[in-house]
């Protein structure tokens, strides 16, 4: 499975990458903002995207909206410090499937990724 990590913090990307590697995922592409991600999604064709909200050049929400114009189905998890309910609703309306609020633990991120992928596959998430 191909996974794209979009976050302006390299540390955050490294943490997410380590969690994904532990889950057995090795095809991972990184992007440092929405604009960078848009330039890479065409060639990489991800099966899942983890997107930060606050980033320079193009923020996560703008990226999701732009991405959804051409792709309605690839699941997106928003990983952000934006914890307010209105923001969560805004993200889901834009086409985000799941939401992880920073700070998160590796276990929580792992659980959200599995939940999202199970939903896409039409199976219940493993406990």
């Amino acid at each position: 499975m191909r996974i794209m990590l979009i976050d302006d913090s390299k540390t955050m990307r490294n943490i997410q990458k380590a969690v994904l590697t532990q889950l057995g995922h090795t095809e991972i592409q990184e992007a440092c903002d929405g604009q960078d991600a848009l330039s890479k999604v065409g060639a990489f064709k991800p099966d899942l995207l983890l997107v930060d909200w606050n980033m320079p050049n193009m923020d996560g929400l703008s990226f999701v909206k732009a991405f959804r114009q051409s792709n309605r189905s690839t699941p997106i998890i928003m990983v952000t410090t934006e914890a307010e309910k209105s923001r969560v609703i805004e993200a889901i309306k834009a086409g985000v499937q799941n939401y992880v609020v920073k700070p998160f633990t590796p276990d929580l991120l792992s659980q959200r990724i599995q939940e999202t992928m199970s939903k896409v596959a039409g199976q219940p998430a493993a406990a």
């Binding site: 955050m12 380590a18 410090t81 998160f104 633990t105």
Partner: protein, 496 residues
């Protein structure tokens, strides 16, 4: 001219191999009658293939016969093409692997020179080349002269080699390559009638090795399976995959070493550094050796004098000597396991401290009031990740450490039986104790640990063990790792 006269005067002869047709003209033929057409007609009657070369040869022959009508004339007027038969198949032995290169390219290491061609299973032994097809020829009448395919290579293979469709010949078993009397096979036993010396070089053999005489100083013998040496092993280096049977023994003069993958059987060992994975069975004497035996040392008729023995249990006729040579017996301790456990413990202690410190910091941050800024949230995520990663590593390390500690605990209950004598000056490590003997003890007797973990001695004549402390000085020893302390320091539960 009638036909019989013509036959007598002009004759067409075809060679036995049908590769040449010759026309012979005898004197007496009317030159006016002799023409190329006549000869060609006769050749056509014999179905000799017509060609420009035949026409030219006939014309030359007619000219010559006319010029000298009183002499016979003859010429080969047609030739066939000889068939080329196919070459025979052949077997080529692969070259022996070259010894490892030396630092000085001009130098030769005579220890590495070996006359044996050794292969591992799957190793290339040679190539079988198939016989070649031939090229057909043609006789003077244009008929095909068939060629023959070459004969198959005159070589026999047994089940120890595999020949694939491409002719690659590989070893089905590891061993020595024997190619003799057109027969190729791999022997899993290397039999050396004499010594391992400069006539054999170092031995590195994947199968069994049998040495008719002995092994000389400074040579190395590595075997994948067992070895039997009928005479003395000198200060050599032996690395034996399975059993080692040294019918006389080994005198290593503190230079040789012995590593045995399974059991060792020897008459005596002198100044040997040896590591035996399973049991050591020694008939006569072990003098000034350092032996590490994975299971049992069996020497009911053997003296163990000088040096040190590590074993799970031991049965020895005489331990030490009346001259007071320093002799140590260490029961239930395996140096490698101790080292690994100690190394793991050294890694676990600081890592546990790091994890505890991280956890304290996280608790402080989580307890802090107010909403986190984006930077604080990311810092906290990073810290949580660090804590989870370190915790994961710590879990793996403690799991490994626990396994080693359990092995140490299981092994720590060894016993020593001495049949004749245990001399003063011997030191014995058993459990967490060191016993120092200041007086000699007569055998037979067995030293072991009682249910409380204290050393006791049992005389077969009296069923009740008595505390060893009545006969020897017993000291809590710190030479080996203290399992309880490690458990405490590393936060592991106490063993049941």
């Amino acid at each position: 001219m009638d036909a019989s006269a013509l036959d007598r005067l002009i004759r067409v002869s075809i060679s036995a191999d049908r590769l040449a047709a010759t026309v012979i003209i005898q004197p007496g033929l009317d030159p006016e009658f002799l023409t190329a057409d006549l000869i060609n007609t006769l050749l056509d009657q014999q179905v000799i293939a017509r060609s420009r070369a035949r026409d030219d040869a006939v014309a030359d022959l007619v000219r010559a016969a006319r010029e000298r009508p009183d002499q016979p004339a003859h010429a080969i007027v047609a030739r066939g093409v000889e068939p080329i038969h196919g070459g025979p198949g052949r077997f080529e032995l692969a070259p022996r692997p070259a010894p490892p290169p030396l630092a000085d390219p001009g130098a030769t290491d005579h220890y590495q020179r070996t006359p044996f061609h050794v292969v591992h299973a799957g190793g290339r032994v040679g190539t079988l080349f198939p016989p070649a097809d031939g090229i057909d020829g043609v006789d003077v009448t244009g008929q095909v002269l068939p060629s023959r395919r070459g004969a198959a290579a005159n070589v026999r293979f047994d089940e120890t080699v595999i020949v694939d469709a491409a002719g690659a010949v590989t070893a089905a078993i590891p061993g020595i390559v024997i190619f003799r009397d057109s027969s190729l096979r791999i022997l899993d036993t290397l039999k050396i009638d004499g010594y391992v010396d400069f006539s054999t070089g170092n031995i590195d053999f994947p199968g069994h090795v049998s040495v008719g005489r002995g092994i000389r100083d400074c040579f190395t013998v590595r075997t994948g399976r067992s070895i039997t040496v009928h005479e003395l092993v000198e200060a050599a280096r032996l690395e034996i995959g399975e059993d080692a049977i040294l019918e006389r023994g080994m005198a290593a003069r503190e230079k040789g070493s012995l590593s045995v993958g399974r059991d060792l059987h020897a008459k005596y060992l002198d100044n040997v550094e040896a590591r035996i994975t399973r049991d050591a069975v020694i008939a006569k004497e072990v003098a000034n050796c350092h032996l590490s035996v994975g299971r049992h040392f069996a020497g009911p008729g053997c003296s163990f004098v000088g040096g040190e023995l590590f074993a799970m249990s031991a049965e020895i006729a005489q331990v030490g000597s009346r001259a007071g040579v320093a002799t140590g017996i260490v029961l239930g301790r395996v140096a490698e396991v101790e080292d690994k456990a100690a190394r793991l413990a050294r890694a676990v202690v600081p890592m546990r401290k790091r994890v505890d410190a991280l956890r304290d910091r996280l608790d402080q941050l989580r307890r802090g009031s107010g909403r986190l800024t984006a930077t604080q949230a990311e810092d906290l995520t990073e810290l949580q990740f660090e804590e989870a990663t370190q915790q994961d590593r710590l879990g793996k390390l403690t799991h490994g450490l626990e396994a080693y500690l359990q092995v140490i605990a299981a092994q720590a209950r060894g016993s020593l039986t001495f049949h004749r004598l245990l001399c003063a000056g011997v030191r014995l490590w058993i459990g967490g104790w060191r016993a120092e003997f200041n007086t000699e003890l007569m055998g037979p007797a067995t030293i072991s640990l009682d249910a409380a973990g204290d050393p006791v001695i049992t005389d077969p004549a009296s069923p009740t063990p008595i505390p060893l402390s009545r006969l020897a000085r017993i000291i809590a020893d710190d030479r080996f790792i203290d399992v309880d302390r490690i458990r405490r320091d590393c936060g592991l539960p106490r063993a049941a």
